[in-house]
């Protein structure tokens, strides 16, 4: 993997028992990861989970305490950053302020003494539709344009592996969506391996082929976006990737196809193939959009789990769907997303409701329920305020 030549296609990346310790804390512990060539891989996690450190280790900007890094089969652990066939799109873009956009893009080509750097830089700028601004200085561009220049500056080198460090973080939502699509298109066009680090779960899900959810220096779960969403393995994944209603209880019955869990007297059934554990104290869950609201106690159906009655404590309308918070006595507050197929909310605050879901939609986690949740989903202020209110209401009702 000579630095002097273009990579004709993406290379695979292999991290072998990587460990990174900083004075006072361990950023990454025993990380093993293989990213196949040509894939769009997302490393997803909250801030401080070690994802950026992982990326910096791959880029060569940090040295691992232990472990090896292989790119395209070649060990690059002892190579310096400038010797690795890797380019990074930095979170801050880090465009050289003393150079024009064109010179920024041509920088890597010039260092590698690749012929005709200016023409190639123009080509890369055309790809990101910014060739008309080639002679401007980076600080004269908008955030979105700078982001595209940073991308052009990296891909123009045709690295075997392209690292993206939350490059869309500084952009507003609309521009971010647009850039996500562009990035994905470019990745498919040039066939490079992309390693994308982000804390935005939606971004990871729309763009990546494979997502690894990282928490506290470890990979919690890795897989295709859909698999991760539908069958999370840990409470952290269940809450970080979308929202989940989680219940904990002992397994009270097992058949060859399903397990039954006692949740405050209600028997909740989860298919065995969707449960990571089948005995003892387990945590099971269901996604809010899989729940159905009933205003009357539903007729018992073997194919559905039923919970209730509970009381609706909050209704919030968000266009496509409505979010209901339902307090079920003995169980914590449940979140329900209902599509707005009819006008207006189906029920109002204070209404008595039952909840049901297809037993095939439930999932069982691998976590030890005794273990305190390692991560609190970071909710928006509105949700927090709502939770405060609901806890206050239950407190008042109890008094």
């Amino acid at each position: 993997m000579a630095v002097g030549a273009f990579a004709d296609r993406g290379a695979d990346l292999k991290l072998v028992s990587i460990e990174k310790r900083f004075p006072g804390f361990t950023a990454i512990e025993n990380l093993n990861l293989t990213i196949p060539a040509g894939s769009f891989f997302a490393l997803l996690g909250p801030s401080g989970c070690g994802k950026t450190t992982t990326l910096r280790l791959v880029a060569g900007l940090e040295e691992p305490t232990n472990g090896r890094i292989l790119i395209g089969g070649a060990d690059v652990t002892n190579q310096k950053s400038f010797q690795r066939p890797v380019n990074t799109v930095f979170q801050s873009y880090a465009l050289f302020p003393h150079m024009t956009v064109l010179e920024n893009v041509a920088f890597g080509l010039r260092r590698r003494k690749i012929g005709d750097p200016v023409a190639k830089a123009h080509e890369a700028l055309l790809l990101v539709e910014l060739d008309h601004l080639a002679h401007r200085k980076p600080q004269q561009l908008s955030g979105g344009q700078q982001q595209r220049v940073a991308l052009a500056r990296a891909i123009v080198n045709r690295p075997a592996l392209l690292l993206l460090d939350e490059p869309l973080g500084a952009l507003d939502l609309k521009l971010r969506r647009q850039m996500q699509l562009e990035l994905k298109t470019i990745q498919e066009e040039v066939g490079l391996t992309f390693l994308h680090v982000t804390h935005d779960q939606e971004e990871a899900m729309t763009m990546a082929d494979t997502i690894a959810v990282m928490n506290k220096g470890r990979i919690e779960q890795m897989g295709e976006p859909q698999q991760l969403y539908e069958l999370p393995k840990t409470a952290f994944v269940a809450n970080f990737l979308g929202q989940s209603n989680l219940f904990t209880g002992p397994v009270v019955g097992t058949t060859s196809t399903a397990i039954a869990v006692d949740v405050s007297g209600e028997k909740i059934v989860v298919p065995v193939r969707r449960a990571h554990r089948a005995s003892g104290q387990v945590t099971i869950g269901v996604r809010p959009e899989k729940l159905t609201l009933h205003t009357q106690g539903p007729i018992h159906d073997a194919g559905r789990n039923v919970m209730g009655p509970g009381r609706v404590i909050d209704v919030s309308f968000s266009g496509v769907s409505t979010q209901y918070l339902v307090a079920v006595p003995g169980v914590k507050t449940l979140v329900v997303f209902a599509q707005n197929v009819a006008f207006g909310p189906a029920v109002h605050v204070g209404a008595q409701v039952w909840l049901s879901w297809n037993i095939d939609h439930g999932f069982g986690l691998d976590d030890d329920p005794a273990e305190a949740p390692r991560y609190e989903a970071d909710l928006d202020t509105k949700t927090i305020a709502r939770q405060r209110r609901s806890s206050l209401i239950t407190e008042l009702e109890g008094a």
């Binding site: 630095v3 880029a59 060569g60 900007l61 310096k80 950053s81 400038f82 890797v86 380019n87 990074t88 930095f90 801050s92 880090a94 465009l95 050289f96 302020p97 003393h98 024009t100 920088f107 890597g108 260092r111 590698r112 500056r153 080198n157």
Partner: protein, 305 residues
């Protein structure tokens, strides 16, 4: 009514222009302008006039009349051209060595020592500390250290690194050394202020884009620290070119190391040859002005490359 509405909308549009020309700004600038007129422009004009003065007929030494004796300049250049050349070469050499010493020092304090603020402030104090002692005393101390009987010179002679008849004081080396030593803080501080703000992410980006540490330094660090380099070199070069302490015979210089400052001093204070001193001053100022403006312009465009 419509006209009234129209007129009220048009008047504010002319207002900003009027406000920009408001006499308040001029009034506030007045003390400054007066100060500059009195203490900068007047002496400058007086200096220029003096430089063209002619000796008074049958007058005493130091008596001159206003004239337009441009020959003063010709005489000054033909007599003192070695001093003029020497001044600028010494100043250039001192600036070069000061930059060579100060850049790594400023880089260490401003970039490498960022994670140890205590070390950073300690080193800054050490850079500034010499200012607490008069610069004349410090230069005299160097004269002692470089004197023929000093331990330094004796040891060098014992090691045959210096010939038995050689001196250190009074040589070009000691003058350039003194200039470099005295102006290092003026070089270090502006360099430090730019390097302290240097975003190391640019350096990482350079590394990521296949630039070796040396190339990163040349292509990223140097251009980004250009403001500090320009400020530091100017703060060193300009006063060094006019310096008369280091090159003085009482300090580190000798007869063969006299700079323009020494000649001006001698002409003005000893020989009372005011027109020559004035003409030399004007030449010194003009040459510095030309060099500096070319330099600033060049460094500004280099930054763009």
């Amino acid at each position: 009514m419509a006209f009234a509405a129209f007129s009220t909308t048009t008047t504010p549009s002319t207002d900003p222009v009027a406000r920009r020309r408001s006499p308040v700004a001029l009034f506030l600038l007045l003390p400054g302008i007066l100060y500059l007129m009195l203490f900068f422009l007047t002496p400058l004009v007086s200096l220029l006039l003096t430089s063209f003065q002619a000796p008074r007929e049958f007058g005493d030494i130091g008596q001159y009349d206003y004239a337009f004796r441009w020959q003063n300049y010709v005489e000054v250049v033909t007599t003192y051209w070695p001093h003029i050349v020497r001044s600028f070469s010494y100043a250039l050499a001192a600036t070069f060595f000061a930059l060579l010493i100060s850049y790594p020092l400023a880089y260490f304090i401003g970039v490498k020592a960022r994670s140890w603020p205590l070390l950073q402030s300690l080193m800054l104090v050490l850079v500034i500390a010499p200012f607490f002692i008069s610069f004349l005393l410090r230069t005299l101390a160097w004269k002692q250290l470089f004197s023929d009987e000093s331990f330094v010179v004796q040891s060098l002679k014992a090691l045959s690194l210096l010939g038995p008849e050689a001196h250190v004081t009074g040589t070009a080396f000691s003058v350039i050394f003194g200039l470099t030593y005295n102006f290092i803080p003026f070089m270090t501080l502006p360099l430090y202020t730019t390097l302290e703000r240097l975003d190391v992410r640019y350096l990482e980006a350079g590394n990521d884009l296949y630039a070796s540490p040396f190339q990163v330094f040349r292509k990223v660090t140097i251009p980004l620290s250009m403001p500090g380099i320009v400020a530091g070199t100017l703060l060193t070069f300009i006063p060094a070119a006019g310096d008369y302490i280091n090159a003085s015979r009482d300090f580190l210089g000798g007869t063969g190391t006299q700079m323009m400052g020494n000649v001006i001093e001698a002409n003005f204070l000893v020989l009372q040859n005011y027109p020559t001193a004035a003409a030399l001053s004007i030449i010194l100022m003009t040459v510095i002005l030309v060099i500096v403006s070319i330099y600033v312009k060049r460094s500004g465009t280099e930054e763009l490359l």
